[in-house]
């Protein structure tokens, strides 16, 4: 009985007794969820348009952030004054690098492997992951770096306010992350729904063959998609880097984003957002209220178990397109 009490009653009693802690935990879950959503968004973009399960999205986040910081340092060494202007030049150059990466990936990896089974393309992105890890370490060094958050006009510090006899503290950078993420998702949604390239993207996602036959250039679409995923990766890298620091340890957040993906469905942008929020909040609540029961560290697998339970109910994820099998 004691264990049942600890599982089903005690955590809720704690929530009721200290609402400020509950709100704080919920907020932290929400922020973590936003960042998971952003990574998942990069995955979804590429999966939708090319059917490639892009394992390299996590390392692209690190690579983009490292390039930004590295270029800023390089520009500083060339005599440009440290400050906002240089930071934005570095940002522009990084976007250029991500575009070059998209073109290179399309030319060197996707084009030769067109029409191969999914698992082969999946493995190719694994190869890309290793390549980017190695190159990133050779070019930028393995040590962790500080994100140039202030130079990019990102706010710092925290807002505290009183709530039910306690304090809730919101980091300004987290609020900024949530706003930027929302803006980006909205932009992407408009881009997908309203522009010519967006329509072409959806056509490619439906069927490569049919898209080709109406004159859509697959090469162009893939470059656009990988570029968009690169921009999403850059944003994620800046946000995550501003919260902690830029290092290769960030790579593991890709693994964190996978349960988000299967929860929301590989093909759904809203799914990535909602999935990210569910996983982020579920994870933090579970860790905070139920974690002590099992010993700490359950964060590492709780997300997967949550996602697995949802999957058993809906095998294509919450918002994924229904998988119809024909013979």
């Amino acid at each position: 009985m004691d264990i049942l009490y600890k599982i089903f009653i005690d955590p809720f009693m704690q929530m009721g007794q200290a609402p400020d802690l509950l709100v704080q935990t919920l907020w932290e879950g929400l922020v973590a969820g936003v960042l998971y959503s952003l990574i998942a968004l990069g995955f979804v973009l590429i999966f939708k348009a090319s059917g490639v399960f892009n394992f390299a999205q996590g390392i692209m986040v690190v690579f983009a952030a490292l390039t930004l910081v590295g270029l800023y340092a390089l520009l500083g060494r060339w005599g440009l004054p440290a400050g906002h202007l240089t930071a934005f030049i570095a940002l522009g150059l990084t976007i250029g690098v991500m575009f070059a990466l998209a073109v290179a990936v399309e030319r060197l990896i996707l084009r030769p492997l067109v029409n191969q089974p999914d698992i082969i393309l999946f493995m190719a992105t694994f190869g890309l992951t290793y390549l980017l890890i190695g190159m990133g370490q050779i070019v930028f060094g393995g040590e962790s770096k500080v994100m140039i958050a202030e130079e990019l006009y990102l706010p710092r510090g925290a807002i505290d306010f009183k709530l039910a006899g306690g304090f809730v503290s919101l980091q300004k950078i987290d609020i900024a992350a949530a706003i930027i993420a929302s803006v980006m998702v909205a932009t992407l949604a408009i881009f997908f729904q309203r522009t010519r390239i967006g329509r072409a993207l959806r056509a490619v996602a439906d069927s490569h063959m049919a898209a080709l036959s109406v004159g859509i250039s697959l090469e162009q679409i893939w470059v656009v998609v990988w570029f968009a995923a690169g921009i999403v990766a850059l944003t994620t890298g800046i946000m995550w880097g501003a919260r902690s620091e830029v290092s290769f340890a960030l790579e593991i957040i890709a693994l964190k984003a996978l349960p988000v993906l299967i929860l929301g469905g590989f093909t759904s942008i809203p799914g990535a957002i909602v999935g990210g929020l569910i996983i982020g909040i579920g994870e933090k609540l579970g860790e905070f209220y139920w974690g002590p029961l099992l010993g700490s560290g359950i964060e590492s697998w709780l997300a997967y178990v949550i996602a697995l339970l949802f999957l058993l109910y809906r095998p294509q994820g919450l918002f994924g397109e229904r998988i119809i099998e024909r013979i």
């Binding site: 399960f53 060197l108 990896i109 030769p112 492997l113 191969q116 089974p117 999914d118 698992i119 082969i120 999946f122 493995m123 190719a124 694994f126 190869g127 890309l128 992951t129 290793y130 390549l131 980017l132 890890i133 190695g134 190159m135 370490q137 050779i138 393995g142 693994l255 996978l258 349960p259 993906l261 299967i262 590989f266 099992l294 010993g295 560290g297 359950i298 590492s300 697998w301 997967y304 178990v305 996602a307 697995l308 999957l311 058993l312 095998p315 294509q316 994820g317 998988i323 099998e325 013979i327």
Partner: protein, 358 residues
Amino acid sequence: MLYREAGQYKTSYAADEAVFALREDRIGLIVVLFVAFVVVPLTSHDFMLQAVLIPFLVFSLAAIGLNILTGYTGLISLGTGAFMGVGAYACYKLTTLFPSVNIIVWVIASGFFSAAVGVLFGLPSLRIKGFYLAVATLAAQFFLSWCFIRVPWLYNNNISGAIEVPTRTLFGVPVTGATATSLTRYFVVLTIVVAMTWFASNLVHGRIGRMWMAVRDMDLAAELIGIRLLPTKLLAFAISSFYCGVAGALMVFLWYGGAESAVFDVNQSFFILFMVIVGGLGSLTGSFFGAALIFILPIALRVVAPALGLPLHPSTVEQLQYVIVGALIIFFLIVEPNGLARLWQIGKQKLRVWPFPY
């Protein structure tokens, strides 16, 4: 020239359906086994056995295990590392609880524990397919990794959190622990790997293997022709995990001599998956090729770079290793998506028709 099937007539169905239908193939197999059992032990020194050949055999076994699941049954699994861990920890628990029982028995028995866990985590495979399943098996990976750290019972409440392999003997000769010679270990690993490869070969060439391949090619159609999906898929999970479990037990007991949970993390799973893909999906020979390429390549890089007189810092070598392994994976996928096993087949075909192109 030497590799000709002309004049080799089959007079029975059994001969026609043999795995090694050609005399040359059979001779080749005998030569390989002779080299492995006689020539290598006579010529190799400790480093070669301990750091190259034993790990190669262990990884080959794990790759065969994953190949049964991914290559033959078409279920992508990213939980291989964890299943190897289950084998290793089960073997450790068993041999410390019952020290008098022969260690080989426990190495094999630990496979059954791994198989049971594999079946448990294989259950969702009936409903979840493709990459969704791959991510779902990551749940097994992370949950089991967590168990290896947080459940002190598994490592007998050691303060270090690592498992230390005790010395166990076989016919009076130590095979595990610090006193065992690498030659003894090599023979034990080699015997187990050869026996299990033979078993796997019979399995995949028989009725069960056909069922797996039917499920891989299209599970709906397989169901329609009367293959029951649940037992077939779960059997694949069980046997695959069995192989991975034995490989994990061998890895800790006969190679590392002690291990902590980090050995069985998600990178290990990816590593084995590389071997299977680069070697060739759905090929037992390919598993050996893949293990050789992916495992021996980094070692070769470490040896070759100084030999060429390149003054490389050790950390640079490690980074270069990442770049080269990544580039090679992409290169091999582009050149031959069906893996090294396919190249091997093409080579044999060329030999057969030589000097004509086809």
